[in-house]
Amino acid sequence: MSVSLTLTYITTKVPNFAQGALVTAGLYTGFALLSINRINPYESLPISFLVGGLIAIGIYLIVLRPLSRRGASVISLMIATLAVDIIFVGIFGIYSDYLFQAKEVYDAKLFYALTGSDFTLFGINGVAYVAPAALALTTIVLYLVLTRTRFGLAMRATVENSNLAKVVGINTEAVYIASWFIAGGVAAIAGVFYSFWLGGEPDIGSILLISMFAGSILGGLKSIYGAVVGGLVVGGSEILITTFGAQYVGAWVTAYETGIPLLVMVITLLVLPGGITSLDWRRLISRWRR
């Protein structure tokens, strides 16, 4: 999820508050196909990817591109993405009501982890293998695309300096649309994995948004690899701290799980505003050796 947020951030230079909506879109696509058409969410992953990607392109083309062409400020763009998020909360609300009443899916408003349609391997749910594998695959594919293909080169050039990229003949619009499509798809797939693990509800995106922001900020907001590390640290610390906290402090700790990404965000912003990718590791190591 943080990876996708960073992708949209580097292309439009605006934190996308509607990113949670993309995750929810994937989550509900998987859920609806499972409950109505009985398709396993793993099999419908491509459809979820497509839905998330198309929504992301829609957001970019209908809202963000016209606004930034009008020279809207960062604040205007941010509030526009927040408006998009609220529109989607409405859409998912309507959709889950519709599933509930017309299609008689009685857990549409709040469903629990879809472990029933997951497979198990060595006694652990399949999503525990698939999600990290998908993350690794996404990272490797993105790495290869960015460094080994003409498109990746065009994309990096556009991010570095979009005017210069236009001058040398790169179709920056196509680059933007493609990166929003990938970002939306990745977010949607993350949503499907999330539903295997913890279930979902129409407003789930707004809760997840904090974790995504924390992951991206920790990763430095400008680097995809930083976001991978940031997302892993945030997600890992959330689970580790709440598990250990519940064991040694008391069960009430789990309720404050959302506080952990917030804490990560605050600490990162106050101590290391550039994120981990801004660190000069070589200097740090040599200083530590001395």
Binding site: M78, A80, T258
Partner: protein, 370 residues
């Protein structure tokens, strides 16, 4: 719009509708004006508006019932199971005790303002350091976490179950809602006048300079950090008091009502709809928005029978799209920012008249006719 008989507009109880309209108009005017001071004049994108409102509303409600129980010597667990019993008992006692009611109203408002101010003071540390996008993310996150804190830490307002607070206008009898409404309206007027004066003061000019060109303002010797800090604290106090007013008005509070759509996004929509950095625009924006919202609320049961989903979601769609449409077609809002006059018009004309008279009195000069 054609003029239709009132009953055909779909509202049967117009007095309730209008009093609710006034209360929410005044309440949102307070919040939107404070957001306008922060965002429009000082350039702080406060995406965590609900945080200050929630703090003011929850803590003032919590303190109000405790203080009332203490003053009236009512024993028991005031925020626990028998809360509504206790609140009812105190309401009955307060209905004959005007001084105690007034004292409690004052305490509630003071606590609301204090909590808002404290939260504002805490948010200064990131606000003066961070760029606007980082700050927006941080404030949005903090507000979400604070709501989770309130819903899980039950001693304050008993989480999602909520607490009832005594009716502090019980002495007004059947006019108690009207009393609370007028209190909100009075405070809204004070805030509006204050904001208008602030904009025309030297501080207002400094704020605009700071927003438009921070480097230049600093070069002219303006202490940007202190100014931003003061603005954020003032706006937070105002929002906190608004929260306390809302708690007094509704008579109960719970952690579920403080969502970012209602208390962060709607004020943003109002400010952008009305006109950023334009107080009169914000007032018009508030009226338009609140009228639509209240009208939909009062008539939505007609639609509810037809549609297979909750009509509230349509509000989200409608107002979310409205914001984007306004940003695309009229980003300056209904009444855009105008160059502000440092002196009021009447003041300027008074001075001119004064000069005129002086000229008339002076010998040898004819009064100029133009």
């Amino acid at each position: 719009m054609t003029i239709l008989p009132l009953a055909i507009l779909g509202i049967t109880d117009w007095s309730t509708f209008l009093s609710g309209l006034l209360a929410f108009f005044a309440l949102y005017l307070i919040i939107s004006i404070s957001l306008n001071i922060e965002m429009g004049y000082a350039g702080i994108p406060n995406f965590g508006k609900v945080l200050y409102f929630m703090g003011g509303a929850a803590f003032s409600g919590s303190v109000a019932i405790r203080a009332a129980a203490w003053m009236m010597h009512v024993p028991g667990n005031v925020v626990g199971f028998d809360n509504f019993l206790i609140a009812g008992k105190i309401t009955a006692m307060l209905s004959t005790d005007v001084p105690a009611s007034v004292a409690l109203i004052a305490i509630t408002l003071a606590i609301g303002g204090a909590v808002g101010g404290i939260l504002g003071y805490i948010s200064i540390f990131p606000a003066i350091r961070l760029r606007e996008d980082y700050l927006a993310m941080l404030l949005l996150g903090s507000a979400a976490f604070f709501q989770i804190f309130l819903s899980n830490y039950t001693p304050i307002i008993n989480g999602y179950l909520g607490i009832g607070i005594p009716n502090l206008f019980a002495w007004a009898g059947s006019y108690s809602t009207l009393g609370a409404t007028l209190l909100i309206a009075g405070f809204a007027l004070v805030v509006y006048v204050y904001a208008e004066r602030l904009v025309r003061s030297p501080l207002g000019r400094t704020l605009r300079a700071l927003r438009d060109n921070e480097a230049a303002a600093e070069a002219l010797g303006k202490d940007t950090v202190t100014i931003r800090r003061n603005v954020l604290i003032i706006a937070s106090i105002i929002t906190g008091v608004a929260g306390a007013l809302y708690t007094i008005y509704t008579g109960d509070t719970n952690a579920a009502i403080y969502d970012r759509v209602t208390w962060t996004f709607w004020p943003w929509l109002i400010v952008i709809l009305g006109g950023v950095a334009s107080n009169s625009g914000v007032a018009i924006g508030t009226f338009v928005f609140i009228f639509l919202l209240q009208y939909i609320d009062a008539t939505k049961f007609y639609l509810q029978n037809v549609l297979p989903f909750d009509v509230t979601w349509l509000e989200y769609l409608l107002f979310g799209s409205l914001l984007i449409v306004v940003l695309l077609l009229r980003p300056q809002g209904i009444l855009p920012e105008k160059p502000s006059h440092t002196l009021a018009n009447s003041e300027i004309s008074r001075i001119l008249e004064h000069q005129h008279e002086e000229k008339k009195d002076a010998p040898g000069t004819a009064p100029d006719e133009d």
